[in-house]
Protein backbone atom coordinates (compact mmCIF):
# COMPACT_ATOMS: atom_id res chain seq x y z
CA UNK A 1 0.00 0.00 0.00
CA UNK A 2 1.43 3.33 -1.04
CA UNK A 3 -0.66 5.45 1.27
CA UNK A 4 0.39 6.39 4.77
CA UNK A 5 -1.88 5.30 7.62
CA UNK A 6 -3.42 8.75 8.14
CA UNK A 7 -4.41 8.94 4.49
CA UNK A 8 -6.61 5.88 4.83
CA UNK A 9 -10.33 6.05 5.40
CA UNK A 10 -11.98 3.94 8.08
CA UNK A 11 -13.04 1.37 5.48
CA UNK A 12 -9.47 1.23 4.14
CA UNK A 13 -8.07 0.85 7.64
CA UNK A 14 -10.39 -2.10 8.26
CA UNK A 15 -9.24 -3.72 5.02
CA UNK A 16 -5.63 -3.11 6.01
CA UNK A 17 -6.20 -4.77 9.36
CA UNK A 18 -7.88 -7.71 7.69
CA UNK A 19 -4.96 -8.09 5.29
CA UNK A 20 -2.53 -7.68 8.22
CA UNK A 21 -0.76 -4.76 6.52
CA UNK A 22 -0.44 -3.11 9.93
CA UNK A 23 -1.65 -3.64 13.48
CA UNK A 24 -4.09 -1.62 15.56
CA UNK A 25 -1.11 -0.57 17.67
CA UNK A 26 0.61 0.74 14.51
CA UNK A 27 -2.46 2.82 13.67
CA UNK A 28 -2.82 4.27 17.16
CA UNK A 29 0.93 4.96 17.42
CA UNK A 30 0.85 6.75 14.11
CA UNK A 31 -2.02 8.98 15.17
CA UNK A 32 -0.59 9.72 18.61
CA UNK A 33 2.70 10.75 16.96
CA UNK A 34 0.82 13.07 14.63
CA UNK A 35 -1.17 14.53 17.50
CA UNK A 36 2.03 15.20 19.44
CA UNK A 37 3.49 16.88 16.38
CA UNK A 38 0.59 19.02 15.20
CA UNK A 39 -1.76 19.52 18.10
CA UNK A 40 0.29 22.26 19.82
CA UNK A 41 -0.21 24.46 16.75
CA UNK A 42 -3.83 23.57 15.97
CA UNK A 43 -5.31 23.15 19.49
CA UNK A 44 -7.66 20.38 18.36
CA UNK A 45 -7.40 17.95 21.26
CA UNK A 46 -8.06 19.10 24.82
CA UNK A 47 -7.22 15.68 26.28
CA UNK A 48 -5.44 12.72 24.72
CA UNK A 49 -6.27 9.19 25.84
CA UNK A 50 -3.14 7.92 27.58
CA UNK A 51 -4.45 4.39 27.59
CA UNK A 52 -4.97 4.28 23.82
CA UNK A 53 -1.86 2.17 23.19
CA UNK A 54 -2.81 -0.39 25.86
CA UNK A 55 -6.31 -0.56 24.41
CA UNK A 56 -4.85 -1.02 20.92
CA UNK A 57 -2.68 -3.90 22.11
CA UNK A 58 -5.70 -5.57 23.68
CA UNK A 59 -7.61 -5.30 20.42
CA UNK A 60 -4.64 -6.63 18.46
CA UNK A 61 -4.74 -9.66 20.74
CA UNK A 62 -8.48 -10.06 20.10
CA UNK A 63 -7.95 -9.92 16.34
CA UNK A 64 -5.07 -12.36 16.53
CA UNK A 65 -7.29 -14.81 18.37
CA UNK A 66 -10.60 -14.47 16.52
CA UNK A 67 -10.02 -12.24 13.50
CA UNK A 68 -12.04 -9.09 12.87
CA UNK A 69 -15.45 -9.64 14.44
CA UNK A 70 -16.67 -6.11 15.22
CA UNK A 71 -17.70 -3.33 12.83
CA UNK A 72 -15.09 -0.76 13.97
CA UNK A 73 -12.53 -3.05 15.53
CA UNK A 74 -9.25 -1.21 16.01
CA UNK A 75 -10.45 2.10 14.57
CA UNK A 76 -9.33 5.14 16.57
CA UNK A 77 -11.64 8.12 16.76
CA UNK A 78 -11.79 11.61 18.23
CA UNK A 79 -14.79 12.72 20.23
CA UNK A 80 -16.12 16.15 21.03
CA UNK A 81 -15.61 17.11 24.64
CA UNK A 82 -19.32 17.25 25.47
CA UNK A 83 -19.67 13.44 25.35
CA UNK A 84 -19.24 11.86 28.78
CA UNK A 85 -16.30 9.46 28.77
CA UNK A 86 -15.36 7.52 31.88
CA UNK A 87 -11.65 7.93 32.65
CA UNK A 88 -11.23 10.97 30.41
CA UNK A 89 -12.00 14.55 31.42
CA UNK A 90 -15.17 16.02 29.93
CA UNK A 91 -15.26 19.80 30.03
CA UNK A 92 -17.53 20.99 27.18
CA UNK A 93 -14.64 23.48 26.74
CA UNK A 94 -15.83 25.34 29.83
CA UNK A 95 -13.97 26.31 33.00
CA UNK A 96 -17.05 25.29 34.97
CA UNK A 97 -16.16 21.66 34.19
CA UNK A 98 -12.39 22.19 33.90
CA UNK A 99 -11.50 19.15 36.05
CA UNK A 100 -14.65 17.05 35.68
CA UNK A 101 -14.41 13.29 35.18
CA UNK A 102 -17.74 11.67 34.26
CA UNK A 103 -19.46 9.05 36.39
CA UNK A 104 -20.92 7.24 33.40
CA UNK A 105 -20.39 6.77 29.65
CA UNK A 106 -22.43 8.39 26.88
CA UNK A 107 -24.43 5.94 24.76
CA UNK A 108 -22.60 7.04 21.59
CA UNK A 109 -19.11 6.35 22.97
CA UNK A 110 -20.34 3.19 24.70
CA UNK A 111 -21.58 1.83 21.36
CA UNK A 112 -18.37 2.82 19.57
CA UNK A 113 -16.23 1.15 22.23
CA UNK A 114 -18.41 -1.97 22.05
CA UNK A 115 -17.84 -1.96 18.27
CA UNK A 116 -14.09 -2.15 18.92
CA UNK A 117 -13.19 1.51 18.36
CA UNK A 118 -10.60 3.35 20.45
CA UNK A 119 -10.82 6.93 21.72
CA UNK A 120 -7.81 9.00 20.69
CA UNK A 121 -8.90 11.99 22.70
CA UNK A 122 -11.46 14.72 23.34
CA UNK A 123 -11.79 17.61 20.95
CA UNK A 124 -12.18 21.33 21.47
CA UNK A 125 -15.53 22.99 20.83
CA UNK A 126 -17.41 26.17 21.48
CA UNK A 127 -17.97 26.22 25.24
CA UNK A 128 -21.18 24.26 25.93
CA UNK A 129 -21.52 24.02 22.09
CA UNK A 130 -22.61 27.67 22.06
CA UNK A 131 -21.33 28.95 18.76
CA UNK A 132 -20.15 28.24 15.25
CA UNK A 133 -16.48 29.15 15.55
CA UNK A 134 -14.85 27.17 18.41
CA UNK A 135 -13.70 30.65 19.44
CA UNK A 136 -15.89 30.66 22.55
CA UNK A 137 -13.91 27.71 23.97
CA UNK A 138 -12.46 28.75 27.32
CA UNK A 139 -9.31 26.84 26.36
CA UNK A 140 -8.50 28.87 23.24
CA UNK A 141 -9.77 28.48 19.68
CA UNK A 142 -8.93 25.59 17.37
CA UNK A 143 -7.26 26.81 14.17
CA UNK A 144 -8.46 25.81 10.73
CA UNK A 145 -5.95 23.39 9.17
CA UNK A 146 -6.52 25.04 5.76
CA UNK A 147 -5.45 28.47 7.03
CA UNK A 148 -4.17 29.01 10.56
CA UNK A 149 -5.54 32.55 10.53
CA UNK A 150 -9.07 31.22 10.21
CA UNK A 151 -11.70 29.58 12.36
CA UNK A 152 -12.64 25.90 11.94
CA UNK A 153 -16.33 26.62 12.48
CA UNK A 154 -18.24 25.05 15.30
CA UNK A 155 -19.41 24.03 17.63
CA UNK A 156 -17.74 20.71 16.69
CA UNK A 157 -14.71 22.63 15.37
CA UNK A 158 -12.11 20.40 17.00
CA UNK A 159 -13.71 17.26 15.58
CA UNK A 160 -13.89 18.68 12.03
CA UNK A 161 -10.32 20.00 12.20
CA UNK A 162 -9.12 16.62 13.53
CA UNK A 163 -10.39 14.88 10.39
CA UNK A 164 -9.13 17.65 8.07
CA UNK A 165 -5.61 17.65 9.59
CA UNK A 166 -5.75 13.84 9.67
CA UNK A 167 -5.25 13.67 13.41
CA UNK A 168 -8.11 11.14 13.51
CA UNK A 169 -9.64 9.02 10.74
CA UNK A 170 -13.12 9.89 12.00
CA UNK A 171 -14.59 12.05 14.75
CA UNK A 172 -17.82 12.42 16.66
CA UNK A 173 -19.60 15.74 16.86
CA UNK A 174 -23.02 16.93 17.89
CA UNK A 175 -25.36 19.27 16.12
CA UNK A 176 -28.04 21.52 17.55
CA UNK A 177 -28.25 23.64 14.40
CA UNK A 178 -25.30 23.21 12.09
CA UNK A 179 -22.67 22.19 14.60
CA UNK A 180 -21.67 19.12 12.59
CA UNK A 181 -22.31 20.34 9.05
CA UNK A 182 -20.89 23.86 9.38
CA UNK A 183 -17.43 22.98 10.81
CA UNK A 184 -17.28 20.05 8.37
CA UNK A 185 -17.91 22.55 5.54
CA UNK A 186 -15.31 25.04 6.78
CA UNK A 187 -12.74 22.26 7.20
CA UNK A 188 -13.58 20.52 3.90
CA UNK A 189 -14.72 17.20 5.34
CA UNK A 190 -17.99 15.25 5.42
CA UNK A 191 -20.48 15.66 8.25
CA UNK A 192 -23.65 13.70 8.79
CA UNK A 193 -26.58 14.61 10.99
CA UNK A 194 -29.17 11.93 11.57
CA UNK A 195 -32.80 12.81 12.16
CA UNK A 196 -33.59 14.06 15.63
CA UNK A 197 -33.90 10.96 17.82
CA UNK A 198 -31.93 8.70 15.48
CA UNK A 199 -28.81 8.85 17.69
CA UNK A 200 -29.15 8.87 21.48
CA UNK A 201 -28.39 12.05 23.40
CA UNK A 202 -27.73 10.15 26.63
CA UNK A 203 -24.50 11.37 28.19
CA UNK A 204 -24.11 14.32 25.85
CA UNK A 205 -23.95 17.57 27.80
CA UNK A 206 -27.23 19.12 26.72
CA UNK A 207 -27.53 22.32 24.77
CA UNK A 208 -31.02 22.44 23.25
CA UNK A 209 -32.62 19.09 24.02
CA UNK A 210 -35.31 19.35 21.34
CA UNK A 211 -32.78 19.55 18.48
CA UNK A 212 -29.47 18.05 19.79
CA UNK A 213 -28.33 15.31 17.39
CA UNK A 214 -24.97 13.52 17.66
CA UNK A 215 -23.25 12.35 14.49
CA UNK A 216 -19.99 11.63 12.69
CA UNK A 217 -17.50 13.82 10.85
CA UNK A 218 -15.48 11.75 8.40
CA UNK A 219 -13.28 11.71 5.30
CA UNK A 220 -16.23 10.61 3.19
CA UNK A 221 -19.88 9.63 3.39
CA UNK A 222 -19.17 5.88 3.40
CA UNK A 223 -17.21 6.18 6.65
CA UNK A 224 -19.90 8.44 8.08
CA UNK A 225 -22.53 5.82 7.16
CA UNK A 226 -20.55 3.04 8.83
CA UNK A 227 -20.20 5.02 12.06
CA UNK A 228 -23.87 6.04 11.98
CA UNK A 229 -24.87 2.37 11.67
CA UNK A 230 -23.02 1.75 14.93
CA UNK A 231 -24.21 4.73 16.97
CA UNK A 232 -27.83 5.03 15.79
CA UNK A 233 -30.79 3.33 17.33
CA UNK A 234 -33.19 3.42 20.22
CA UNK A 235 -31.70 3.84 23.66
CA UNK A 236 -33.70 3.10 26.78
CA UNK A 237 -31.88 5.99 28.45
CA UNK A 238 -33.10 8.61 25.97
CA UNK A 239 -36.88 8.80 25.78
CA UNK A 240 -36.69 10.85 22.57
CA UNK A 241 -34.61 8.24 20.75
CA UNK A 242 -36.64 6.65 18.00
CA UNK A 243 -37.83 3.03 18.15
CA UNK A 244 -37.65 2.83 14.35
CA UNK A 245 -35.30 0.08 13.26
CA UNK A 246 -31.79 1.15 12.24
CA UNK A 247 -30.62 0.18 8.80
CA UNK A 248 -27.07 -0.95 8.15
CA UNK A 249 -26.54 2.22 6.17
CA UNK A 250 -23.03 1.45 4.91
CA UNK A 251 -24.27 -1.76 3.33
CA UNK A 252 -27.07 0.03 1.51
CA UNK A 253 -24.96 2.54 -0.39
CA UNK A 254 -25.51 0.71 -3.63
CA UNK A 255 -26.93 3.33 -5.98
CA UNK A 256 -24.83 3.95 -9.04
CA UNK A 257 -26.80 6.96 -10.25
CA UNK A 258 -29.65 9.23 -9.20
CA UNK A 259 -32.21 8.22 -11.80
CA UNK A 260 -35.76 8.82 -10.59
CA UNK A 261 -34.65 11.17 -7.80
CA UNK A 262 -36.25 14.58 -7.50
CA UNK A 263 -34.14 17.21 -5.82
CA UNK A 264 -35.16 20.74 -4.80
CA UNK A 265 -32.62 23.55 -4.96
CA UNK A 266 -33.80 26.11 -2.43
CA UNK A 267 -33.83 29.47 -4.17
CA UNK A 268 -33.97 31.48 -0.96
CA UNK A 269 -30.81 29.77 0.32
CA UNK A 270 -28.79 31.47 -2.39
CA UNK A 271 -28.69 34.56 -0.20
CA UNK A 272 -28.40 38.00 -1.79
CA UNK A 273 -25.38 38.65 0.46
CA UNK A 274 -23.65 35.48 -0.63
CA UNK A 275 -20.54 35.65 -2.79
CA UNK A 276 -21.12 34.76 -6.43
CA UNK A 277 -18.42 32.09 -6.29
CA UNK A 278 -20.30 30.23 -3.55
CA UNK A 279 -23.58 30.44 -5.47
CA UNK A 280 -21.81 29.12 -8.56
CA UNK A 281 -20.47 26.10 -6.65
CA UNK A 282 -23.95 25.25 -5.42
CA UNK A 283 -25.41 25.63 -8.89
CA UNK A 284 -22.61 23.45 -10.25
CA UNK A 285 -23.48 20.83 -7.67
CA UNK A 286 -27.11 20.96 -8.82
CA UNK A 287 -25.98 20.45 -12.42
CA UNK A 288 -23.78 17.56 -11.33
CA UNK A 289 -26.70 15.86 -9.59
CA UNK A 290 -28.75 16.39 -12.73
CA UNK A 291 -26.06 14.81 -14.89
CA UNK A 292 -26.12 11.84 -12.53
CA UNK A 293 -29.77 11.27 -13.33
CA UNK A 294 -31.69 13.39 -10.83
CA UNK A 295 -34.31 15.97 -11.71
CA UNK A 296 -33.37 19.24 -10.03
CA UNK A 297 -35.90 22.03 -9.64
CA UNK A 298 -35.76 25.37 -7.88
CA UNK A 299 -38.08 25.50 -4.91
CA UNK A 300 -39.16 28.21 -2.49
CA UNK A 301 -39.23 27.75 1.25
CA UNK A 302 -39.90 30.23 4.04
CA UNK A 303 -37.26 32.99 4.22
CA UNK A 304 -34.51 31.48 6.42
CA UNK A 305 -34.36 34.72 8.44
CA UNK A 306 -37.42 33.49 10.35
CA UNK A 307 -35.60 30.29 11.27
CA UNK A 308 -33.03 32.49 13.02
CA UNK A 309 -35.73 33.95 15.26
CA UNK A 310 -37.26 30.55 16.00
CA UNK A 311 -33.92 28.94 16.67
CA UNK A 312 -32.61 31.78 18.82
CA UNK A 313 -35.59 31.68 21.16
CA UNK A 314 -35.93 27.89 21.39
CA UNK A 315 -32.23 27.26 21.79
CA UNK A 316 -31.64 29.96 24.41
CA UNK A 317 -34.72 28.94 26.35
CA UNK A 318 -33.59 25.32 26.45
CA UNK A 319 -30.02 26.39 27.27
CA UNK A 320 -31.20 28.42 30.26
CA UNK A 321 -33.01 25.37 31.58
CA UNK A 322 -30.28 22.82 30.80
CA UNK A 323 -27.45 24.89 32.23
CA UNK A 324 -29.32 25.70 35.45
CA UNK A 325 -27.98 22.45 36.89
CA UNK A 326 -24.35 23.58 36.71
CA UNK A 327 -23.96 25.22 40.10
CA UNK A 328 -20.69 23.71 41.29
CA UNK A 329 -22.37 22.06 44.26
CA UNK A 330 -21.88 18.45 43.28
CA UNK A 331 -19.40 18.70 40.41
CA UNK A 332 -17.36 21.37 38.69
CA UNK A 333 -17.04 24.99 39.67
CA UNK A 334 -19.48 27.81 40.39
CA UNK A 335 -21.58 29.79 37.93
CA UNK A 336 -19.18 32.74 38.02
CA UNK A 337 -16.97 30.62 35.76
CA UNK A 338 -19.32 30.73 32.77
CA UNK A 339 -17.84 32.66 29.85
CA UNK A 340 -19.56 35.62 28.26
CA UNK A 341 -21.33 33.66 25.50
CA UNK A 342 -22.82 31.11 27.91
CA UNK A 343 -23.99 33.90 30.22
CA UNK A 344 -25.55 35.74 27.30
CA UNK A 345 -27.46 32.66 26.17
CA UNK A 346 -28.59 31.56 29.62
CA UNK A 347 -29.83 35.08 30.38
CA UNK A 348 -31.67 35.64 27.12
CA UNK A 349 -33.32 32.24 27.54
CA UNK A 350 -34.28 33.12 31.08
CA UNK A 351 -35.81 36.32 29.74
CA UNK A 352 -37.81 34.63 26.95
CA UNK A 353 -39.18 32.07 29.42
CA UNK A 354 -39.96 34.58 32.17
CA UNK A 355 -43.46 35.58 33.22
CA UNK A 356 -45.03 38.01 30.78
CA UNK A 357 -42.70 37.14 27.89
CA UNK A 358 -43.29 33.39 27.50
CA UNK A 359 -46.23 33.78 25.11
CA UNK A 360 -44.68 36.57 23.07
CA UNK A 361 -41.40 34.75 22.50
CA UNK A 362 -41.28 31.07 23.37
CA UNK A 363 -44.81 30.13 22.36
CA UNK A 364 -44.63 32.24 19.22
CA UNK A 365 -41.32 30.62 18.22
CA UNK A 366 -42.79 27.15 18.72
CA UNK A 367 -45.78 28.06 16.57
CA UNK A 368 -43.54 29.26 13.73
CA UNK A 369 -41.59 26.04 14.23
CA UNK A 370 -44.78 24.15 13.38
CA UNK A 371 -45.05 26.12 10.14
CA UNK A 372 -41.45 25.28 9.23
CA UNK A 373 -42.04 21.59 9.96
CA UNK A 374 -45.23 21.57 7.83
CA UNK A 375 -43.48 23.33 4.98
CA UNK A 376 -40.77 20.68 4.88
CA UNK A 377 -43.33 17.86 5.14
CA UNK A 378 -45.04 19.36 2.15
CA UNK A 379 -41.80 19.74 0.17
CA UNK A 380 -40.84 16.12 0.80
CA UNK A 381 -44.11 14.96 -0.73
CA UNK A 382 -42.60 16.02 -4.05
CA UNK A 383 -38.85 15.95 -3.47
CA UNK A 384 -36.49 13.23 -2.29
CA UNK A 385 -34.01 15.78 -1.01
CA UNK A 386 -33.37 19.48 -0.93
CA UNK A 387 -29.98 21.10 -1.41
CA UNK A 388 -28.27 24.37 -0.66
CA UNK A 389 -25.03 25.71 0.77
CA UNK A 390 -24.18 24.73 4.34
CA UNK A 391 -22.75 28.14 5.16
CA UNK A 392 -22.98 31.49 3.36
CA UNK A 393 -19.21 31.52 2.78
CA UNK A 394 -15.88 29.89 3.55
CA UNK A 395 -14.17 29.93 6.96
CA UNK A 396 -13.93 33.37 8.54
CA UNK A 397 -10.87 34.84 10.20
CA UNK A 398 -10.00 34.46 13.87
CA UNK A 399 -11.72 37.15 15.90
CA UNK A 400 -14.77 37.26 13.62
CA UNK A 401 -17.08 36.52 16.55
CA UNK A 402 -16.01 39.60 18.50
CA UNK A 403 -18.94 41.96 19.12
CA UNK A 404 -21.24 39.62 17.17
CA UNK A 405 -23.71 38.35 19.78
CA UNK A 406 -25.59 36.36 17.12
CA UNK A 407 -22.56 35.13 15.15
CA UNK A 408 -23.60 31.48 15.28
CA UNK A 409 -27.19 32.14 14.28
CA UNK A 410 -26.15 34.25 11.29
CA UNK A 411 -23.52 31.77 10.08
CA UNK A 412 -25.95 28.88 10.49
CA UNK A 413 -28.90 30.56 8.77
CA UNK A 414 -29.00 27.88 6.06
CA UNK A 415 -28.91 24.88 8.40
CA UNK A 416 -31.25 26.14 11.12
CA UNK A 417 -34.52 25.31 9.35
CA UNK A 418 -33.60 21.62 8.88
CA UNK A 419 -32.39 21.35 12.49
CA UNK A 420 -35.53 22.94 13.89
CA UNK A 421 -37.56 20.36 11.96
CA UNK A 422 -35.34 17.45 13.09
CA UNK A 423 -34.43 16.41 9.54
CA UNK A 424 -31.50 14.31 8.41
CA UNK A 425 -28.76 15.98 6.39
CA UNK A 426 -25.32 15.41 4.94
CA UNK A 427 -22.72 18.14 4.52
CA UNK A 428 -20.25 17.31 1.76
CA UNK A 429 -17.40 19.31 0.17
CA UNK A 430 -18.43 20.84 -3.17
CA UNK A 431 -15.46 22.97 -4.16
CA UNK A 432 -13.18 25.79 -3.07
CA UNK A 433 -13.32 29.59 -2.88
CA UNK A 434 -10.02 31.38 -2.20
CA UNK A 435 -8.47 27.94 -1.56
CA UNK A 436 -10.95 27.38 1.25
CA UNK A 437 -13.50 24.55 1.18
CA UNK A 438 -17.25 25.08 0.67
CA UNK A 439 -19.93 22.61 1.77
CA UNK A 440 -23.14 21.43 0.14
CA UNK A 441 -26.04 20.28 2.30
CA UNK A 442 -28.21 17.41 1.11
CA UNK A 443 -31.22 17.32 3.37
CA UNK A 444 -33.98 14.75 3.56
CA UNK A 445 -37.13 13.98 5.47
CA UNK A 446 -36.98 12.42 8.93
CA UNK A 447 -35.53 8.91 8.90
CA UNK A 448 -34.52 9.08 5.23
CA UNK A 449 -30.87 8.59 6.23
CA UNK A 450 -30.25 5.84 3.66
CA UNK A 451 -31.57 7.93 0.80
CA UNK A 452 -29.54 11.02 1.75
CA UNK A 453 -26.37 8.98 2.22
CA UNK A 454 -26.88 7.40 -1.20
CA UNK A 455 -27.22 10.79 -2.89
CA UNK A 456 -24.10 12.01 -1.08
CA UNK A 457 -22.23 8.85 -2.07
CA UNK A 458 -23.14 9.08 -5.75
CA UNK A 459 -22.13 12.77 -5.68
CA UNK A 460 -18.82 12.06 -3.95
CA UNK A 461 -17.99 9.20 -6.30
CA UNK A 462 -18.58 11.46 -9.29
CA UNK A 463 -16.62 14.47 -7.99
CA UNK A 464 -13.17 15.18 -6.64
CA UNK A 465 -13.68 17.72 -3.87
CA UNK A 466 -12.47 15.63 -0.94
CA UNK A 467 -9.04 17.11 -0.30
CA UNK A 468 -6.79 17.57 2.70
CA UNK A 469 -4.50 20.49 3.50
CA UNK A 470 -1.04 19.69 2.15
CA UNK A 471 0.78 20.95 5.22
CA UNK A 472 -0.50 18.06 7.34
CA UNK A 473 -0.13 15.29 4.78
CA UNK A 474 3.50 14.59 5.67
Amino acid sequence: MNKQIHELSVVELLHGLEDKLFSVTDIVHHYLDRIARYNPELNIYLHVNEKAIDQAKAIDAEIKKDGLTKPLQGIPFAVKDNFLTVGLPTTASSKVLEDYYPQYESTVTKRLLAAGAIILGKTNMDAWAHGSSTETSQFGPTLNPWDLGRLPGGSSGGSAAAVAAQLAPVAIGSETAGSIRQPAAWCGVTGFKGSYGRVSRYGVIAMASSTDSPGPIAQNITDAALVTSVIAGQDQYDGTSSPKEVEQYHKLLNRKDLKGMKIGLVKGYLLPTMRTEVKTLIQNAAKKLESLGATVEEISLMDPKYAIGVYTVIQRSEVSSNLARFDGIRYGHGRENFGEEAKRRIMLGTYTLSAGYYDAYYKKAMAVRTKIVEEFENAFKTYDAIIGAVSPGPALKLGATKNEPMFGEMEDILVEPSSIAGLTSAGVPCGFVDDLPIGLQITGNQFEETKIMNIAKVYQDATDFVKFPEKYQK
Binding site: G239, I329, K343, R344, T370, K371
Partner: protein, 104 residues
Protein backbone atom coordinates in the same frame (compact mmCIF):
# COMPACT_ATOMS: atom_id res chain seq x y z
CA UNK B 1 -45.27 46.51 16.94
CA UNK B 2 -43.25 48.86 19.13
CA UNK B 3 -39.54 48.21 19.32
CA UNK B 4 -38.58 46.28 22.45
CA UNK B 5 -35.88 47.90 24.55
CA UNK B 6 -34.20 45.90 27.27
CA UNK B 7 -32.79 48.02 30.07
CA UNK B 8 -29.90 47.39 32.44
CA UNK B 9 -32.40 46.83 35.24
CA UNK B 10 -34.15 44.15 33.13
CA UNK B 11 -30.75 42.49 32.73
CA UNK B 12 -30.08 42.75 36.46
CA UNK B 13 -33.42 41.08 37.19
CA UNK B 14 -32.75 38.26 34.72
CA UNK B 15 -29.29 37.82 36.27
CA UNK B 16 -30.96 37.10 39.61
CA UNK B 17 -33.45 34.66 38.02
CA UNK B 18 -30.61 32.89 36.19
CA UNK B 19 -28.40 32.80 39.29
CA UNK B 20 -25.53 34.47 37.44
CA UNK B 21 -23.29 37.19 38.80
CA UNK B 22 -23.37 40.10 36.33
CA UNK B 23 -21.00 43.08 36.42
CA UNK B 24 -22.19 46.63 35.66
CA UNK B 25 -20.24 46.50 32.42
CA UNK B 26 -22.01 43.28 31.39
CA UNK B 27 -25.39 44.81 32.29
CA UNK B 28 -24.80 47.58 29.80
CA UNK B 29 -23.37 45.23 27.14
CA UNK B 30 -26.15 42.64 27.47
CA UNK B 31 -28.91 45.27 27.52
CA UNK B 32 -27.77 46.55 24.11
CA UNK B 33 -27.16 43.09 22.68
CA UNK B 34 -30.45 41.66 23.96
CA UNK B 35 -32.38 44.55 22.43
CA UNK B 36 -30.71 43.82 19.07
CA UNK B 37 -31.41 40.10 19.36
CA UNK B 38 -35.05 40.67 20.27
CA UNK B 39 -35.32 42.86 17.15
CA UNK B 40 -34.43 39.81 15.05
CA UNK B 41 -36.86 37.65 17.03
CA UNK B 42 -39.65 40.21 16.66
CA UNK B 43 -39.62 39.54 12.90
CA UNK B 44 -41.58 36.40 13.77
CA UNK B 45 -44.61 38.63 14.28
CA UNK B 46 -44.73 39.01 10.48
CA UNK B 47 -45.91 35.39 10.37
CA UNK B 48 -49.52 34.66 11.15
CA UNK B 49 -49.72 31.80 13.63
CA UNK B 50 -53.37 32.11 14.54
CA UNK B 51 -54.67 28.66 15.46
CA UNK B 52 -51.28 27.00 14.89
CA UNK B 53 -50.39 24.37 17.50
CA UNK B 54 -46.87 24.99 18.87
CA UNK B 55 -44.26 22.26 18.29
CA UNK B 56 -41.98 21.26 21.15
CA UNK B 57 -41.16 17.73 20.01
CA UNK B 58 -40.41 16.93 16.38
CA UNK B 59 -40.36 13.16 16.04
CA UNK B 60 -43.91 12.52 17.24
CA UNK B 61 -43.06 10.34 20.24
CA UNK B 62 -45.46 10.69 23.13
CA UNK B 63 -45.66 9.38 26.67
CA UNK B 64 -42.48 7.34 26.50
CA UNK B 65 -42.12 5.16 29.57
CA UNK B 66 -39.75 2.46 30.68
CA UNK B 67 -40.59 -0.85 32.39
CA UNK B 68 -40.96 -0.40 36.14
CA UNK B 69 -37.97 -2.55 37.05
CA UNK B 70 -34.66 -1.73 38.72
CA UNK B 71 -31.88 -1.19 36.20
CA UNK B 72 -28.65 -1.75 38.05
CA UNK B 73 -26.58 -0.55 35.10
CA UNK B 74 -27.97 2.86 35.63
CA UNK B 75 -27.36 3.09 39.35
CA UNK B 76 -24.17 4.73 40.56
CA UNK B 77 -22.50 3.45 43.71
CA UNK B 78 -22.08 6.03 46.43
CA UNK B 79 -18.36 6.08 45.67
CA UNK B 80 -18.97 6.68 41.95
CA UNK B 81 -21.52 9.38 42.64
CA UNK B 82 -19.18 11.25 44.96
CA UNK B 83 -16.08 10.83 42.78
CA UNK B 84 -14.96 14.16 41.44
CA UNK B 85 -16.87 16.11 44.05
CA UNK B 86 -14.77 18.52 46.05
CA UNK B 87 -17.17 19.08 48.88
CA UNK B 88 -18.34 15.89 50.57
CA UNK B 89 -19.07 15.05 54.17
CA UNK B 90 -19.49 11.50 55.53
CA UNK B 91 -20.63 10.15 52.19
CA UNK B 92 -22.91 13.07 51.25
CA UNK B 93 -22.67 16.11 49.02
CA UNK B 94 -22.37 19.31 51.02
CA UNK B 95 -24.98 21.80 49.79
CA UNK B 96 -25.52 25.43 50.55
CA UNK B 97 -27.68 26.21 53.54
CA UNK B 98 -31.10 27.39 52.41
CA UNK B 99 -32.91 27.64 55.75
CA UNK B 100 -32.03 29.96 58.61
CA UNK B 101 -31.25 28.26 61.91
CA UNK B 102 -34.00 30.17 63.70
CA UNK B 103 -36.70 29.63 61.09
CA UNK B 104 -39.49 27.24 61.96
Amino acid sequence: MAKTTITTSDVAKVGVLANLPITDEEKKLFADQFSATIDVVDQLNEIDTTGVIPTSQVNHLENVTRPDVVDKDRILTQQQALSGSKNVHKGFFVVKQILEKDSE
